[in-house]
Symmetry: C2
Subunit: 199 residues, 2 copies
Amino acid sequence: MNQKIEKLIKQFARLPRVGARGGQRIALALLQDKTGRAEMLAAAITDAVENVAPCPNCGVLTDRGAGKCEYCRDGSRANGALCLVRDLSDVWTLEKSAVFHGRYHIIGGLLSGANGTTPDDLNIANLAARIRDENITEIIFALPNTVEGKTTQHYVMSVLTDVPNVRFTELASGVPLGGDLDYLDDGTLSLAFGGRKAI
Amino acid sequence: MNQKIEKLIKQFARLPRVGARGGQRIALALLQDKTGRAEMLAAAITDAVENVAPCPNCGVLTDRGAGKCEYCRDGSRANGALCLVRDLSDVWTLEKSAVFHGRYHIIGGLLSGANGTTPDDLNIANLAARIRDENITEIIFALPNTVEGKTTQHYVMSVLTDVPNVRFTELASGVPLGGDLDYLDDGTLSLAFGGRKAI
């Protein structure tokens, strides 16, 4: 195989959920395309990588050098609620669902012995300052409902124990909408029973 | 969402089998990567698109301006066999299996009323000249075993009727290796019965 094509396939194959076969398909589609798609893709990658950086306040990727991101600048979001998420993709998911209209804070990972993520790796150094400066009254933990997520949540709470006038909440656990009990795992069932409500 | 990121996701989402969710994952992985993967990918795309072009003889993508491709230059492949395929990915598949060691010819599509591919779209103008110049004695049709593949095969054969001393062959049809009859479609079963062999 031509070396330049081989190199291109390898680069694509390393991307999430693409793999060797997918890399071949993509490389071939780009090389056979006559509409300039490949050039546009290369330009979009370069533009984004060079001109996008984490918001210094919350960690959301935003225009480099433009200061705070769109969410941190938006005055209508200064409602006292701060939603802690692991990742930018969680912000996108929440924004799409439109269930939350406050501020975000991306912590950038979950504590885990398995992949070596330690407290130093979490983006939480400015959390106490944010709570004070932005009059945050509620921190909503929207971390994954896993051992790592809960461990991280407890750690972040322990760091913030001395911060006054803020309450901590977490997303409800239970049966998903449309969820059939037959298909639920024992952990979810147990959470749903433990959290049962009067009707 | 940041416009540059949105643009990047859109470009990725248009690639084969990626889609909107996949585009988000890939864009995020590239933007969060610290190892220069994004720059390497952009460079590989630009390098391949600018410096790769179809071999003027057979259609396989090769270094632009370098003349014939590796297969057409390889003297050990001048064994009189020419394998007709639809696409470069078919060449890759055959090369990986190592079942064929002759020359290739990419016709670049299949005749189809549905997507409007006509004989003018097929890369077959130099086929007769190749058969003469490269002393081809057998043309192996390795086109998809579909109505479009067979139609295209018959058309190409009709164009080459006047070319002397060349025989046409096609890949055998039948039960795939490890194939369970239970899971075979009627068309394949019918081909396998029609082509049954004495044992």
